[in-house]
Symmetry: C2
Subunit: 339 residues, 2 copies
């Protein structure tokens, strides 16, 4: 059977297709279109057994069955894998995912939010960039469903899925201490983002718990925009002098990979000369000659929880905020030795 | 000055906002809405100096200043980096990019095309999946601007950006032959996609040019859906028997990384026991103890060309197809030795 289109109804009623569309998608009773004409159009639609198509229905219900995802950097495997997981999970609920990458840039983040909201996504999953608080607050004011992942702003009450960054970092550093390392450096990002502050906090907690004084000279921060040069400088400073660091804790996989590339050029052997541990996994860390011990974030769980919490908002109209904090796992391999 | 909204006009005219929107965005003269009312609404809009907002203007002009990008697998660094490059390039032209990952699945590809087209992107950049010919032809019929990247269908005249797969593969295999390798295996995907067939063709070309007989027992194909197990089987078969392979050419970085993970567990040393060469780069290949020699695809050039060719279609209305084939570079490192 041929599908009945708006055009069929329009032809029968002797009006424009646009007018039919207007009448059938609009519940506004105040419209001064002439109730008689509106009634006629509705009757013809019923008679012809008109079935609105998916797009029309989407426009009517305000649902597009699409989730917008904004990650910090799609070229980082952590985010690429999160994106993949969210896609797979959304698919189970008949939702599509379209995404964009903010490149840790607050303007680009705003652009992407606008693009996705204007493209009528039903809700957003966002890795917020530094300084994007206002964008998040605006989404709340606009009552657009959203969930933050990986990071959140402690001062904003919004749903988020994150890991226990502080405890995980403390666990990683304790592992280095138990493996006999005495001078443990850390390389983090220079950022005000809460999750990085927490990882630094965890590093300091672990040192303190084991009676080691945390010195600023062993804590290095690289700018996202000058990653390569800042990491080289950081590692040079950590490894120089009479008492060089005997271990480095990297706050993310990107930092670890850039760091290891540089460490390789210096002829420093892992773990004999230097123990290395990092947050996040990565194939590069698996294939390294001393596979790197790392804090595994449960990417699958994060993705599933993000989709579930978002759909509760979209489909059930839930307005309560849900904050989920998931445990990580320390995956011990060769890069910390065992002395 | 406060921006004049549709609601302001509606209030002044004493009609619904929806009706104002209908009148102002509709050029359809046949609409039986009452020309007097339509005229009144237009006059009020003029009087209040109404400026349609960006979304309204987008809907009207048919431009959303957004490109849709469909990659094969966002968790593959090759595609993640392509996505990043296309974003950066589009941004220079004030275009945003939203993307999705087809996971090499033809149904998911169709879903994503629908989602992006329904979300009114101005055009698409697509890595077509196996079996998606009909989807591509449909885009042509719908006159939706698009450019294919990485792959294309020789039987469909459509704009694409690709590399010279056959020559590049031949160059890689010739490099192995010149390095003294005699029994060169290849691991590819089991697919009808043209770019993989070309890489296999290049492998066979090089063997033939050097008077080596290409045997099927040295050419292995892994299913995308069973990557890990098929690669293990392939490598087991290549390395068994009295005359094991002394080199392997991997058709993509994913194949190489999975392959090297397994080769590591076998205690086989690269390049002494086995030379390895691959298409595509990857941080995992950089950090491997014998950094892997690879065919570098010019990701930046591919991304730039894709955006340029697409915008020619969108902005200039170009309807001629543009096929661009870019040269690759062989980056020689330690994994092929030098004997």
């Amino acid at each position: 059977m041929k599908k009945v289109s708006l055009k069929d109804i329009a032809t029968e009623a002797g009006v424009s297709t646009a007018l039919v569309s207007y009448v059938l998608t609009n519940k506004d009773k105040k419209a001064r279109i002439g109730e008689e004409m509106a009634k006629k159009i509705r009757e013809i639609a019923r008679k012809l057994n008109y079935q609105p198509n998916h797009i029309a229905r989407s426009l009517k219900s305000g649902r597009s069955f699409t989730i917008g995802l904004i990650v910090a950097d799609i070229s980082n495997p952590f985010f690429a894998n999160i994106a993949r997981t969210i896609e797979d999970e959304a698919k189970k609920h008949n939702y599509n995912v379209i995404f964009g990458s903010s490149d840790e840039n607050v303007d680009k983040s705003q652009d992407l939010i606008n693009v996705l909201v204007n493209r009528q996504v039903d809700g957003l999953i966002i890795t917020p960039t530094e300084g994007s608080e206002q964008q998040i607050r605006q989404l709340q004011e606009q009552k657009i469903p959203f969930v933050l992942i990986d990071r959140f702003f402690p001062e904003i009450a919004a749903s988020y899925i994150a890991v226990n960054n502080r405890e995980s970092a403390a666990g990683a550093v304790s592992h280095l201490i138990k493996a006999g390392r005495k001078r443990i450096g850390m390389v983090a990002y220079k950022t005000t983002l809460h999750h990085i502050s927490e990882r630094i906090g965890g590093y300091q907690d672990a040192l303190q718990q084991h009676g080691i004084k945390a010195t600023n000279s062993l804590l290095k921060k690289a700018r996202y925009s000058h990653l390569k040069e800042d990491i080289r400088l950081a590692i040079d400073e950590l490894l120089k002098g009479k008492h060089p660091a005997d271990a480095i804790f990297f706050a993310t996989n990107s930092l670890a990979i850039e760091g290891l590339k540089y460490i390789n050029t210096l002829g420093i052997r892992i773990p004999d000369d230097l123990a290395v541990i990092t947050f996040d996994e990565g194939e590069a860390l698996d294939l390294f000659y001393a596979p790197v011990t790392f804090v595994r974030q449960p990417i699958l769980e994060i993705g599933k929880a993000a989709v579930r919490v978002l759909l509760e908002q979209i489909l059930d109209g839930t307005t309560t905020t849900t904050a989920i904090c998931i445990d990580t796992t320390l995956v011990v391999r060769k890069s910390c030795g065992s002395r």
